[in-house]
């Protein structure tokens, strides 16, 4: 029988990862060391998914690097992959790209947003001027130089970047999928608009009444699924909730750097085993990190 009740969209992190299949195109929201949907990313790695096309953030962080290191990624699309001072260039991104094991679709930030906008607008491409005169069209042959039919100016056509499932992390959402970011939300909205489905991990599920009390704060309405994941961006920050766990990020960087510098995968395999493969849930992962560490990540 058809339910007459409004549908709630809260699902578990396992269910969320179960909606991702080998070969899909996913996007990962956030920016550098903040706001990545790690509770679901860890499950994707645990499910040993393969051949993903990953559209990272305009400045992707080491969560994208981790997915590459775990062997889940065939193609990466991100204008930069960096942990800022913790790792200026993602070590596994470097390793895989330098060995020709990773397809890198090179785009500058605003070409990237034009591609996402084209997908959102159901257009094959959108024009952009940044990159004219550079090597971008040589290293990314999907970009086409053309002359604007109105003025004749030389421009680049940026093809649409379609996303199967957009994954992102936010401060809060209600059970119906109304998302309220704390802060700007970085480029998360552009991922949502270019995606068939959006799954958001949140530090807190809030009642619908709280959304209605301040609807101006709703940054994305009606996403497809919400995952309740307090500290769900760990080891990355979540604005208004907690700061990045630099100690843990360094643990990852050190393991990944052993692969890059010495070809030694053992520390990275141990890291994946301990934090990705063994914990069966987000709660078990947080157990591994420990209360003391988690509670030390306060914002001020």
């Amino acid at each position: 029988m058809q339910s007459t009740k409004r549908r709630e969209v809260i699902i578990s992190e396992q269910e969320a990862a179960g909606r991702i299949r080998d070969g899909m195109t996913i996007s990962i929201g956030g920016f550098l060391n903040s706001s990545h949907p790690m509770a679901v990313i860890r499950m994707i790695i645990r499910n040993r998914l393969k051949n993903l096309t990953v559209i990272g953030a305009a400045s992707a962080g080491l969560e994208t690097d981790l997915l590459i290191g775990a062997g889940c990624v065939k193609t990466v699309i991100a204008p930069m992959i960096s942990g800022e001072s913790l790792a200026p260039i993602g070590p596994m991104f470097r390793y895989a790209a330098q060995r020709g094991e990773l397809e890198v679709v090179e785009l500058d930030e605003h070409m990237y947003y034009q591609g996402l906008r084209a997908a959102a607008a159901l257009l094959p491409s959108l024009p952009w001027r940044g990159g004219v005169g550079t090597d971008y069209p040589k290293i990314n042959t999907r970009l086409k130089e053309f002359h604007d039919p109105i003025t004749g100016e030389l421009l680049l056509a940026v093809p649409a970047l379609h996303i199967d499932v957009a994954l992102m992390h936010a401060g809060a959402a209600d059970p119906y999928g109304n998302v309220q970011h704390v802060g700007t939300g970085f480029g998360d909205r552009s991922h949502h608009r270019a995606a068939d489905k959006t799954i958001v991990t949140v530090d807190k599920v809030i009642p619908n009444e709280e959304v209605r009390a301040n609807p101006y704060r709703t940054s994305i309405a009606s996403v497809d699924a919400v995952v309740r994941a307090p500290y769900g961006s760990h080891p990355y920050a979540s604005p208004g909730h907690y700061l990045e766990d630099a100690t843990h990020i360094r643990e990852y960087v050190s393991a990944a750097t052993a692969v890059l510098k010495e070809g030694n995968r053992a520390p990275l395999e141990a890291y994946l085993q301990k934090y990705m493969f063994e914990p069966a849930s987000h709660a078990e992962y947080l157990d591994r990190i420990g209360f003391e560490r988690i509670l030390s990540l306060y914002e001020v």
């Binding site: 920016f31 802060g183 990045e244």
Partner: protein
């Protein structure tokens, strides 16, 4: 501007570079304060606290005015939302492509793995085969678009050596003046005026008007022209007389150390 009679007696190279950056910023301009170029951040804020009270400061996805903030603590990561305590406005990052009309007079800073004699830059990587780079770089970030469109920008080199300052790039991720020539940018229809100067720990380069090739504009105190030439991978134009970069004033150093760079990032070797 404070009179140059009040020259600081003791300062670091990074503080000198920050003071030079400050001297380039005009009141009322819009400028982005990035996290990864602390010297540029300090220079911008130094201008703001001295001669540019109406600077439009973009920081950590906010826009603000910081004149009345006593100590401008620096954040390790650009995503640090504690900058929101100063914010008057915030913008979602994906609105970036829509901001260029308003950035026609904006100022930006661009670094590179490589910077060539015509001010083009490379953040893609080192090596001739793109699918097997010897050193994979971080990626071009927004430099291609910002370099194309913003009013003017400055090249910034953390290190001055032949690997960084090179005659030819392995890959061009941001267009400065291409292969050179006064019309290098206009013939491609690029709206911004391109790189104005290249700021390094040894010197300042500008661009010769006709060739748009780098020319030595000044050497920092204690540095010789010969040292610069020996550390540069291309041959810049060298005028008969090369002046010394103006040292910071005592007031600038006092402001840097007490309000802008309390942590001492610019005083570390």
């Amino acid at each position: 501007m404070a009179a140059l009679t009040n020259v600081a007696t003791e300062y670091t190279t990074k503080e000198l570079m920050a003071a030079f950056v400050a001297s380039e910023i005009e009141d009322g301009e819009a400028v982005s304060v990035g996290a990864s170029l602390p010297v540029c951040r300090a220079g911008i804020l130094l201008a703001h606290l001295t001669h540019a009270p109406n600077l439009k400061v973009q920081m950590s996805f906010t826009m603000t005015n910081l004149r009345n903030v006593e100590v401008l603590e620096s954040f390790e990561y650009i995503t640090d939302w504690r900058a929101a305590r100063w914010a008057e406005f915030f913008y979602a990052h994906d609105t970036g492509p829509d901001l260029y009309k308003r950035r026609r007079k904006a100022v930006f800073f661009i670094g590179g793995l490589q910077i060539d004699a015509h001010g083009n830059t490379n953040l893609i990587g080192i090596g001739s085969d793109f699918t097997r780079l010897k050193m994979r770089g971080p990626g071009g970030v927004g430099t291609a678009s910002m370099g194309t469109n913003v009013g003017r920008y400055y090249l910034y080199a953390n290190n001055h050596n032949k690997q960084t300052l090179t005659e030819r790039l392995d890959w061009r991720s941001c267009f400065g003046f291409g292969e050179g020539g006064a019309d290098a940018r206009t013939k491609l229809g690029l709206p911004g005026s391109g790189p104005r100067f290249c700021i390094t720990p040894l010197c300042i380069f500008d661009f010769e008007e006709q060739t748009k090739r780098m020319r030595l504009k000044s050497v920092h105190p204690g540095i010789t022209v010969e040292q610069v030439l020996a550390s540069t991978g291309f041959t810049p134009a060298v005028p008969d007389h090369v002046p010394t970069t103006a040292p910071p004033t005592a007031e600038q150093i006092q402001l840097l150390r007490s309000r802008i760079d309390v942590e001492g990032v610019l005083r570390r070797p």
